[in-house]
Symmetry: C2
Subunit: 200 residues, 2 copies
Amino acid sequence: MCQVSDWERVVEFHGHVCLGLAMGYRAALAALRVLEADPAADEELVAIVENDACGVDALQVLTGCTFGKGNLIFRDWGKPVYTIGRRDNGKAVRVVMKDTSWAVDEEFAALRRKVFGGEGTPEDRRRLQARQLEVAERILNAPEEDVCTVQETTISLPPRARIYPSVTCACCGERVMEPRARIEEGKTLCIPCSERHRGR
Amino acid sequence: MCQVSDWERVVEFHGHVCLGLAMGYRAALAALRVLEADPAADEELVAIVENDACGVDALQVLTGCTFGKGNLIFRDWGKPVYTIGRRDNGKAVRVVMKDTSWAVDEEFAALRRKVFGGEGTPEDRRRLQARQLEVAERILNAPEEDVCTVQETTISLPPRARIYPSVTCACCGERVMEPRARIEEGKTLCIPCSERHRGR
């Protein structure tokens, strides 16, 4: 069996090393440890993520809570907070990431603000990427209390993912699952055709 | 270097083999082929997915368009359609998945309706999973024209992902990124505290 470390799998999925990915890696491992849980092959775990930044990719790989399985719930709250629960025993943890400015110097912070502020040149992006590894390693090697807090909590688990029958859009002829079909003047339409039809 | 096939990487990420995952695998490979693109290490590609079902996990692994990188755009339209574009030359393709009832027999279809309709017993889930591999292999080995259509298209690419400064919620004391902070009676709050405060 091929030996690939958890961190290597996370980096391969995300495509590059960065500070946020390392944070998500620490969050996921801390959550699994406290939950005494294995990654979810199906929907055994549910993750509620309060942001959609890099760290969530580490969470997807390590917890098995993925966008495509329906056990990754996104709350667009812009908070570095991840709540992960087990369906079998209802146990859940809330992981709150700490401010990690201690891990970066001013040059890195300034580059990061520039690049992710939308003003970075391709050269700035290269310089930032070249420094991400050293910063990520500080996060990976730091004591957990410098990176995040993990509190046990309770969550109401969402129902398991469902599939629905498909119907055909009377306008574009493409299939759409029933709950997303719209009715316009007796015709069954998909949402984009319905919105075009309404001139939106 | 460890040799793991693309399909093995997709299955490891998703956690199990299923029909939808095989469909997403075919969609992703078809898109990359027509775009003549490599998987996105950063945001070189952008994917607009019109559903959040299993297939999107294959798309995340193979195209590098991931939830955490900001280059996976979700339109909740319930359609088996994926649009993938290149930032460098603006080329884009729209992949529309075909009805694959040809790949399943009535027993499988009935089990799938039952399990994903929310009425399956754990035993039904086991029986369904036991049959997913054979069905997935039919999809993996089918001629592309039986699985999907790939049309070149044009899309307006979203801006690259950004990061923002954080502020501290005056209620819970947790950090929130500026664009998601809310102001209540002069106080800066995160969205969940703001909603509690408003009694929602």
